[in-house]
Symmetry: C2
Subunit: 316 residues, 2 copies
C-alpha cells in the first residue's frame, strides 16, 4: 500500500512557488442558486484559471519544482486533455520544452490548444498501451522528465493551492465538494481543507457511469474504471494508489450522480451564473440536485474544475 | 427636435438611488484577447447583473424614482426581453405590482423569467400595434405607470451608472464602446463617460442588419429600422428622438458589423473568457475583429450588456 506523507506544508510551498504564475481565481455566488438549495454556495472558479482549468496549478508546481539539471531536457506527458495544455504552458514559461503524446484521434481543438502553447506533439494510436509505449520512446530519445497528470506529489500539492485561496477568502465553509477523476484535485483539496480547517466536511463527487473512486472508497480496495462512459470527460481516469490512499484518509464521503443531473447542473450554472463550466465541473452541483449531500442552511464550497467545452456541441 | 438636459449629475443621483439594489459587476480582462488585438481590453460584465443584463439598472432607477403617489398602482411595460424582467424585479423589490404586455409568441423561457419575478402578464398578438393597444388598456384599467424601455430619462440615467462604476475602476480608458439598440445604454454611457472624462472616445456599435442608429448618426436625421434581421436580438429596436439627440451630441462615432463577426466575437468570449454573453454584447468586439475601430496600444473599455441566451440553440 502506497502511503503519502504529503502535507499542508507542501501545499503552502507550492503556493509560494506558483503564486506569480497562476491566476487567483474569483469566488462566485448566485442568489438564485442559494434560493434553490436553501444554502450559501460559493464557487471557486478555476474555469477562469490559465488554460481554463485547475490543472495549470499542478503543472506549474511540477515544472517549477524541477532542479535545473532535471529540467534541462524538458518535460513530457501523455494526455489529450487539460493537463497537456497546462504542462505545455508551464514549460513555456519556464523556458523548457514540453513533449506531449496524443492519440491521433484527439479533437482538433485540443491538438491546436496544446500546439499553441508550444509543445512538441507526437501522435500515437488511441490505446493506453500505445500512449505509454510512445511516451517511453519520447522520454528515451529526449531525456525529458515524465510528469504524470495526477500520480505525482508535486501535481497534487499544486492542485491543493486552489483550496488554500478558497479558504482564505471563505474561511466559514462547512462543506467543500470537488469532482474526482484520477484524484489529483480531490487529494490536494482534501489535504489542504483538512489541514487548514479540521472540522470541514470534504466530499468527493463522481458520475455513476465512472464510479471507480466511489467503489474503491466504499470497499477499501482500489478498483479501476472499466469502460467508463460519461459526459464528464475529465473524470474518465481511474485513481492511482497514491491518490486513493490520500482520498481514503482525508475525504469524508464520496457520492455518485446520474448523467441527466450533470447536464441539468451544468445548464443551471450556464443559465443563472453566466459562466461556462465543463461537464466534469457540474458533478458537485448535480449531487446537490440529487440531494445526495445535506447542504440546507450550510455554507458550501464547490470547486469548479474547468471551463473547456466543445462549443460546437449542443449539450442542452 | 427633442433636446435632453440629462446630465452627469442625474446619473450620479441614479447611482445613489440604486446602489444598494444592483450588483457592482466585475471588470474582466483576458491576456489572450489582449494579445490578439494588441491592446488592453476591459469588459464591464453586465451579464452578471441581476436578471442578466444592464437593463436592471435603468428599471431600478425608474421604479425607485416614482413618488409613492405615482407608484401605488404599479408599473407597466410592453417588452418581450430583458427590460420586462428587469422592471418586474425592480417592482417586486419596491413592493409594487408590475404589468407586462407580451406577444403570445414569446419564447417560453422569457415568459417564465418575467412570471418568476412576479409580474402580471397580459398576452397580445405579435404586432407593435397590438402591444401598444393592449398596454394602453392595461394602463387604463390598473392606473399603472408606463415605463418605456429606453425613451425615458430615468431609464437612461440608470444605464449610465455602469459607466460610472467602470471609470472608477479603470480611469485610464482611452475608448469606451457599447452596442446600440434603442439607444438607452448608449445614451447613458456617453453622458457618463464624456461627463467624467472629457477626452475619452465613445463609440457606438451596431449590426449592419439593424443599422438605424448608424444611418441616423451619419445623416443627422432620425431613421427607423426597417425589418431588421440580426442575431443580436437585443438591438432590433429603433432609437427614439430622445436617445438620438443624446447620441448625436455625445457619441464620437458609430460603426457597423457583419453577422458573421458577431458570432465569431461571441465565440471568442465564450471560449477564451469562459463567460456567457448574448449576441448583442458581442457587437463591440466584432467591431474590433473587423478593424473598424483603431485600438492598437490603447486601453479599451467594452460594456458587455447581458448574458441571456437560448441555450437550446446552437450558435456556433
Amino acid at each position: 500500500m502506497t502511503t503519502s506523507i504529503l502535507s499542508l506544508n507542501d501545499i503552502f510551498e507550492a503556493r509560494k512557488r506558483i503564486d506569480k504564475y497562476v491566476h487567483r481565481t474569483p469566488v462566485f455566488s448566485s442568489n438564485n442558486l442559494n434560493d434553490i438549495f436553501g444554502s450559501a454556495i460559493f464557487f471557486k472558479c478555476e474555469n477562469f484559471q490559465k488554460v481554463g482549468a485547475f490543472k495549470y496549478r499542478g503543472a506549474c508546481n511540477a515544472v517549477f519544482s524541477l532542479k535545473n539539471e532535471d529540467a534541462k531536457n524538458g518535460v513530457a506527458t501523455h494526455s489529450s486533455g487539460n493537463h497537456a495544455a497546462a504542462l505545455a504552458l508551464a514549460a513555456k514559461i519556464r523556458g523548457i520544452s514540453a513533449h506531449v503524446v496524443m492519440p491521433e484521434t484527439s479533437p482538433e481543438t485540443k491538438k491546436r490548444a496544446v500546439f499553441s502553447y508550444g509543445a512538441k506533439i507526437t501522435y500515437c494510436e488511441p490505446t493506453l498501451l500505445a500512449r505509454e509505449t510512445t511516451l517511453q520512446e519520447v522520454v528515451n530519445e529526449t531525456g525529458a522528465r515524465f510528469i504524470h497528470p495526477f500520480d505525482n506529489e508535486k501535481i497534487i500539492a499544486g492542485q491543493g493551492t486552489a483550496t488554500v485561496e478558497f479558504l482564505e477568502e471563505k474561511p466559514d465553509l462547512d462543506i467543500l465538494i470537488a469532482p474526482i477523476g484520477g484524484g489529483g484535485l480531490m487529494s490536494g483539496t482534501a489535504i489542504a481543507a483538512k489541514g487548514i480547517k479540521k472540522n470541514i466536511e470534504v466530499i468527493g463527487t463522481e458520475p455513476k457511469m465512472a464510479d471507480d473512486a466511489f467503489k474503491s472508497f466504499k470497499s477499501g480496495i482500489l478498483v479501476p474504471s472499466v469502460n467508463p462512459q460519461t459526459i464528464a470527460d475529465g473524470l474518465l481516469t481511474s485513481q492511482s494508489e497514491l491518490t486513493f490512499s490520500i482520498i481514503k484518509k482525508n475525504v469524508d464521503d464520496i457520492v455518485t450522480v446520474d448523467e441527466k443531473s450533470i447536464v441539468e447542473a451544468m445548464r443551471l450554472v450556464w443559465e443563472r451564473m453566466k459562466i461556462i463550466i465543463e461537464p466534469s465541473s457540474a458533478v458537485p452541483l448535480a449531487a446537490l440536485l440529487e440531494k445526495k449531500i445535506q447542504v440546507k442552511n450550510k455554507k458550501v464550497g464547490i470547486i469548479i474544475s474547468g471551463g473547456n467545452v466543445d462549443l460546437s456541441r449542443n449539450y442542452f
